[in-house]
């Protein structure tokens, strides 16, 4: 069997193309009732009163609950020791963002529930809103959390005397401030939860990337024994990080099911989604670099400030900024660096995880600065990158923050992209000299399979798999990772089949069901292949030994003389064979489980404040060739190239698909997508009509080159690939636009690079001349 490396068809596809997938919104239960939420219309207030009389009186309404009704329910925990604790409530008495849940209405159907929700009268004692980082940090600013001295939820100030000395002594120092705009994943499937309490057990179908984490969290919040809860993540319609959090509604729906004794459903509508599902990015990176005569950055100071919105999110949204700080030197040989991180709370939707987890912001800032440093030294940006990129012979390389870049093909990836894009640039210039074109590059290194705290506060990176032989001779693989479109089911089946010498059809996969699957952290952080892969291989080795031992007893042969291939036969005597079904019949219950803990992951800082937070590192290079229309400000991508290295490739079609999709989201954040707020704290974008998620006419064909440098310490050599595509586009495109407008003195320092922003920058540059 050689399934690894083949573009095997996905097991998920048959049901999905038939419309026979099973998503949370498809769950139908007898007697099921529906929830609509009453959400805050104001950004900051104390809720003085909630008048539910008229809503309760409406025919078909079963319950209207507010924070006062939630006795016995605990707020979400907060285990982070490097941030101020925020106890996110299920329903709010102090609202800190437009969209915060205040009351839940349960009725026979959603139409009636929304009718009733409109009848709920909320009395607000409004408080002054804090709508920007600057406003949040102003002395005497209104505080979101009255018992805090200011609006800093996390504040880590670094000072490294070596960096200070390098900056003082450098021939050239360059500085830049780079802001990544506020946007989010916006999966086409919104969030949702359906809960049923029956025969003493609570079953929750949830749009979650982490069913076990959700189960543990629900047990803590609802105060019920964990073994009575079953969380099921059926087909999940895209997650990209935003569904890795556990949200208030996902705890409230099961609480309502417990209280009402009826199945309860809540499906988030898109209007809710835009302010109730976490936002992301919105980081400002202030960089300062010492640059030598060859355009190389020799020391880097990074100061990151992130607007995390109200911060009322489990897990908290401060982590991406710390990842950004830790990875501020990228794949470059910058031996001295320090990063300071400040996360501030504002009256906006909480921000949290989204594909790339801080790295799109860090790469945008660093790569813009690399261009600036090169130009300051009179060196081409391509040559400056060549001089700084880690070479294969230097690996493993430990960055100043402690990230141990174990392997990769940084230089090779970059050269592939440069060759392609320089050619595309020349062709574009030749094609129409009147068009203003530019080229830009970004190099990406991303830690994958990182440490994460379980819902109990213990930091972990491991995951689990169980393999069992069913009586029909099929092997059932149950894994703790979870899918939301990536093809995790196919990946698990491929690896289990390969390890056991079976066909893909001989393996069944169970995912996303806490009753069926061993405890796992879920599917996020580009971790599933690494951690599930390790567990599958370990479990398969044990199951293989058990199967061969059982077959040996049936065939009266020594296990070492047997071959496992479809069934089991004696080596050299294929007719002396037993099927797996016969083995399962003779010795029922053969199974094996394994927990795989990836090597080398630090779970806390060492005494020097350094840590290696990830199991391994993927790398890649992005290049963009763009045309900029100076009259309209429109940016058109003429060519986009990615060279990507995620180690051993298990399925080339799925890897390419992850890159295509990641790049599309990266382009969205670079050029189109934004979740802006007015200075009054009101969200300006509340619908998909206003949120400019790119369509097929905005996203170009992506030229994709696959490199394959196995991770030396991983059992498969396969690294994760879910996020890498989204990390490079903002940087590559911003560099390309800046290149196209270089003679006008325009430099891009913010995303999204909208036509209006480009026109403003051109206007400002002309005025300054």
């Amino acid at each position: 069997v050689t399934l690894v490396g083949a573009a095997v068809s996905r097991l998920e596809d048959d049901r999905l193309v038939r419309g026979a997938g099973h998503f949370v919104a498809d769950v139908r239960l007898d007697g099921m009732v529906e929830v609509a939420f009453v959400r805050s219309r104001v950004p900051h207030a104390r809720v003085r009163s909630v008048d539910t009389v008229a809503a309760r009186a409406l025919e078909g309404v079963l319950a209207v609950v507010t924070a006062a009704d939630l006795a016995g329910v605990a707020p979400f925990p907060d285990w982070l020791d490097y941030a101020r604790p925020v106890a996110a409530p299920l329903l709010c008495e102090h609202v800190r963002y437009v969209g915060a849940p205040i009351a839940a209405v349960v009725a026979a159907d959603r139409y009636l529930a929304e009718d009733a929700a409109e009848l709920v009268e909320v009395g607000y004692d409004e408080l002054p809103a804090v709508a920007t980082i600057a406003a949040a940090l102003e002395p005497g600013a209104p505080r979101l959390f009255p018992d805090w001295p200011d609006n800093r939820v996390a504040d880590h100030q670094a000072f490294d005397p070596e960096v200070e000395e390098a900056l003082r002594a450098a021939p050239t120092v360059v500085r830049g401030t780079y802001r990544s705009g506020r946007h989010s994943a916006v999966p086409v499937e919104t969030r949702g939860a359906v809960a049923e309490h029956r025969d003493g057990r609570l079953t929750v179908w949830s749009t979650t990337q982490s069913p076990h984490i959700e189960r543990t969290t629900l047990a803590l919040v609802l105060g019920v024994p964990e073994e009575t809860i079953r969380v099921v993540a059926p087909d999940v319609g895209g997650g990209f990080g935003v569904k890795s959090h556990v949200y208030p509604e996902h705890a409230l729906v099961p609480w309502l099911a417990l209280r009402l004794g009826r199945p309860v459903r809540w499906i988030e509508d898109r209007g809710e989604h835009m302010t109730a599902t976490c936002h992301a990015r919105d980081q400002v990176h202030e960089l300062e670099a010492a640059v030598d005569g060859d355009g190389r950055i020799t020391a880097l100071r990074s100061r990151i400030v992130c607007d995390v919105g109200s911060g009322e999110l489990f897990f908290p949204g401060v982590a991406p900024s710390f990842v950004a700080g830790a990875m501020c030197t990228g794949p470059y040989r910058i031996d001295k660096a320090e990063s300071s991180v400040t996360c501030v709370v504002t009256n906006k939707t909480p921000s949290g995880a989204y594909r790339g987890f801080g790295l799109p912001e860090a790469v945008f800032a660093l790569e813009r600065l690399v261009d600036r440093a090169a130009r300051a030294a009179g060196v081409s940006p391509v040559d400056a990158r060549r001089r700084m990129l880690l070479e294969a012979g230097e690996l493993p390389y430990t960055t100043p923050s402690g990230a141990r870049i174990d392997s990769g093909s940084h230089r090779e990836a970059f050269e592939l992209v440069v060759a392609r894009c320089e050619e595309a640039l020349a062709a574009a210039r030749a094609n129409d000299p009147a068009v203003r074109v530019g080229v830009g590059y970004a190099n990406v290194v991303e830690g994958v399979a990182p440490t994460y705290y379980r819902a109990t506060g213990r930091w972990k990176a491991d995951d689990a798999c169980t393999l069992r032989l069913d009586p029909d001779g099929r092997v059932v693989a149950s894994a703790g990772v979870s899918g939301s479109g990536q093809g995790v089911e196919t990946m698990v089946a491929t690896l289990a089949a390969e390890a056991l010498g079976l066909s893909l059809e001989a393996v069944a996969v169970e995912l996303g069901d806490t009753d069926a699957c061993p405890y796992g952290l879920g599917g996020w952080g580009s971790r599933s292949t690494v951690v599930a892969g390790g567990a599958i291989l370990e479990a398969a080795a044990v199951l293989r030994a058990k199967v061969l031992a059982a077959a040996g007893r049936l065939l009266e042969a020594a296990p070492e003389d047997l071959v496992l291939a479809g069934g089991v036969h004696v080596a050299g005597a294929e007719r002396r064979r037993v099927t797996l079904a016969e083995i399962a019949d003779a010795e029922p219950g053969l199974e094996a489980g394994a927990v795989y803990d990836p090597p080398g992951v630090d779970h806390e800082l060492d005494e020097d404040g350094r840590m290696n937070a990830s199991a391994t590192y993927v790398n890649g290079a992005h290049g963009a060739v763009v045309a900029v229309d100076v009259e309209t400000g429109a940016v058109r991508i003429l060519d986009y190239a990615v060279a990507h290295d995620c180690g051993t490739v298990l399925n080339p079609a799925l890897v390419a698909g992850q890159i295509h999709g990641g790049v599309a989201q990266g382009i969205g954040g670079a050029l189109y997508e934004e979740l802006p707020y007015g200075s009054d704290g009101q969200p300006r974008v509340r619908t998909l009509a206003d949120y400019l998620a790119p369509t097929a006419t905005e996203i170009p064909h992506v030229a994709f080159e696959q490199l394959e440098t196995p991770g030396p310490e991983l059992p498969l050599g396969a690294k994760g690939t879910g996020e890498a595509g989204a990390i490079g586009p903002a940087a590559a495109i911003a560099n390309a636009v800046s290149d196209a407008l270089a003679d006008l003195g325009v430099e891009i320092t913010e995303t999204p690079i909208t036509p209006a922003a480009v026109r403003r920058l051109i206007r400002e540059a002309r005025a300054a001349l």
Partner: protein
């Protein structure tokens, strides 16, 4: 005639060749009728605003957003949903092309795309740019659209 939104009316419509009669509130969306009343959950709802295209069905030969229509407006109409593309049989050429070209990941937007494409005449969409224009009525957050274009080309015999 002005109806109270919760007033009920009888509707009769044909879905995938089968006639259904239901009494529904006049405000009930066609998407909710299909999903909740008829159990045809392959039609997905992503925005309830006609932007994302996930809820697209074919009504009397035209691709329409079922979230932008009231069920009562479909009275007397003939509808096709994703469940009707290959009932219990092998996949349709379009469905097979989606699978062969990895043109879906999470699969949530897929049924709507399939219905738009099933109602399209390839002759009206002669090249890749035109295919992209056709796909632009749909949001897909997973694929970046590249493999969707490849799948449509394959299904339309343009490889």
């Amino acid at each position: 005639v002005i109806f109270d939104p919760v007033e009920e009316l009888d509707v009769e419509l044909t879905v995938n060749g089968r006639v259904h009669s239901r009494r529904v509130p006049v405000r009930r969306l066609l998407s909710d009728l299909l999903r909740d009343d008829l159990g045809l959950t392959g039609t997905h709802v992503g925005c309830e605003q006609g932007v994302c295209g996930a809820c697209t069905v074919v009504l009397d030969g035209e691709a329409v957003r079922s979230c932008l229509m009231l069920a009562v407006q479909a009275d007397g109409a003939e509808l096709a949903t994703v469940e009707g593309l290959a009932p219990a049989g092998p996949l349709s050429p379009l469905q097979q092309a989606f699978a062969d070209h990895h043109a879906l990941q999470c699969g949530f937007c897929t049924p709507g795309l399939l219905m738009t494409l099933s109602a399209a005449d390839p002759a009206d969409h002669p090249d890749d740019d035109a295919i992209r224009e056709l796909l632009a009525g749909h949001l897909c957050r997973c694929t970046g659209y590249q493999n969707l274009v490849a799948a449509v080309r394959a299904a339309w015999g343009r490889e």
